[in-house]
């Protein structure tokens, strides 16, 4: 579709931390790339509650937990799953092409 944002190469799949979260800086943007049992997902890296870096948090399955207050989000849709997180985090459409993680942004 004409209005869709383009896919951008973010990081090689082989460079991801397996089963964990990897931080990637794209210009001024900080992204968190999640290697989950059901595929790779991406979100903004900073928690929308207290502003801490989610990439230093605990990651388990599909849930990323903020290292500062342990608020948690489902990385598949960004929905908050644990207080004090109450607002969805911003997630990005993600795919893997030729060994590269690509994000539509």
């Amino acid at each position: 579709m004409a209005n869709e944002k383009p896919w951008r190469d973010i990081i090689a799949v082989s460079a991801l931390e397996k089963g964990w979260v990897t931080r990637v800086d794209i210009g001024p943007r900080k992204l968190a790339i999640y290697d989950t049992p059901s595929g790779i997902f991406a979100s903004l890296a900073l928690c929308n509650h207290g502003g801490a870096d989610l990439c230093d948090g605990y990651f388990d399955g599909h849930v990323i937990e903020c290292p500062l207050h342990q608020g948690a989000f489902d990385v598949r849709d960004g929905m908050p799953v644990g207080a004090p997180a109450t607002k969805p985090m911003r997630v990005f459409e993600t795919r893997v092409t030729k060994g590269m993680v690509q994000v539509r942004m």
């Binding site: 890296a45 900073l46 801490a52 207050h69």
Partner: protein
């Protein structure tokens, strides 16, 4: 986009006190250590409850209730861990255990979670840390705090304020709007449960609630006040975690009761680390934090020295 805020953890990583691999290893969660500890916890509760029963017709019931109370008030430590989701790997088990602990010690779990978030954000920052216990200015004020009377007055005021649908200006800062109704509902539910329990007690004529729960809880709370003072009181009121928090080296029974929360500076550095990994984190960070090798008693000697010395710039 703005940068991530600086936290003790980001500082520790940046300064090489911790590596990312260390962090991942320490944060590893499992349900098994919690279930093992809870099994022993229940045995301890059965033992202290039995002591009260055995001492029923003698003056020994008072020391028995005090001992039982010390265990009861340590449900705070378990609830605190549940707030951080660091007891069980299974997240809902933390919520369940936290709610039960909250009922035992009269501390609504959701409210405590929000309050505690700001304690971690603004540790020892006067006016911003909602859990800050100021250094008492006199021995009288010190003893008054340890009596737990100010604590209970504050907690009951809080509970009824929430049940009546109100929040204080301070609470409005850390409880998001979308959670106000839930905080009010929690307080009302808690009071309803207590009301039903006491109604049942009156109807059946069974006074066990008083002797096994209420009196021990109030007898034990000064011990929890004594312990909680050792975490930050008397440490400098500065943002640096290496300065503003005290880790206390205590014996195994106290570590068991407090779910390793004596490793308090380590906990503030990386709050995502479960209770069972805190001793390992201590080994990693012990040269970068303030450690009181003499435990709770030495921490209080330090606090008392500062009170007797009077107001001054030095607090360490």
């Amino acid at each position: 986009m703005t940068d991530a805020i600086v936290t003790p953890l980001t500082q520790a990583l940046a300064e090489g006190k911790l590596t990312r691999e260390d962090l991942k290893s320490f944060m590893h969660r499992s349900d098994a250590p919690a279930f093992r500890r809870l099994a022993i916890w229940l045995l301890v509760l059965v033992a202290t409850t039995t002591l009260i029963t055995l001492a029923w017709d003698s003056w020994l019931i008072w020391p028995a209730m005090f001992l039982h109370g010390i265990v009861l008030v340590h449900h705070f430590s378990l609830q605190h861990e549940c707030v951080h989701y660091t007891v069980f790997r299974t997240r809902w088990l933390n919520d369940l255990a936290g709610q039960i602990c909250g009922l035992i010690i009269i501390l609504p779990h959701r409210f405590f979670r929000y309050e505690h978030c700001d304690h971690h954000t603004y540790t020892q920052t006067t006016g911003d840390d909602p859990e800050m216990i100021p250094l008492p200015q006199t021995i009288g004020a010190y003893l008054w705090y340890l009596s737990a009377v100010p604590y209970w007055r504050s907690k009951f005021t809080e509970l009824f304020r929430h049940a009546f649908g109100r929040l204080s200006p301070g609470e409005l800062r850390f409880i998001p709007q979308v959670e106000h109704a839930a905080v009010y509902r929690d307080a009302r539910m808690m009071l309803t449960i207590y009301g039903l329990l006491f109604l049942g007690s009156v109807i059946t004529g069974w006074s066990g609630l008083i002797w096994y729960w209420i009196i021990p809880l109030f007898l034990g709370e000064p011990v929890m006040r004594f312990i909680r003072m050792t975490e930050h009181v008397g440490r400098p009121t500065v943002p640096q975690m290496s300065e503003n928090t005290r880790t206390n080296l205590v014996s195994a029974p106290w570590r068991f009761l407090c779910w390793n929360m004596n490793y308090h500076a380590e906990h503030h550095y990386v709050a995502s680390v479960p209770f069972h990994a805190l001793p390992r984190l201590h080994d990693k960070l012990k040269d970068h934090i303030y450690v009181e090798p003499g435990g709770y008693l030495a921490a209080h000697r330090d606090i008392l020295r500062q009170i007797l010395r009077g107001p001054g710039p030095a607090q360490d």
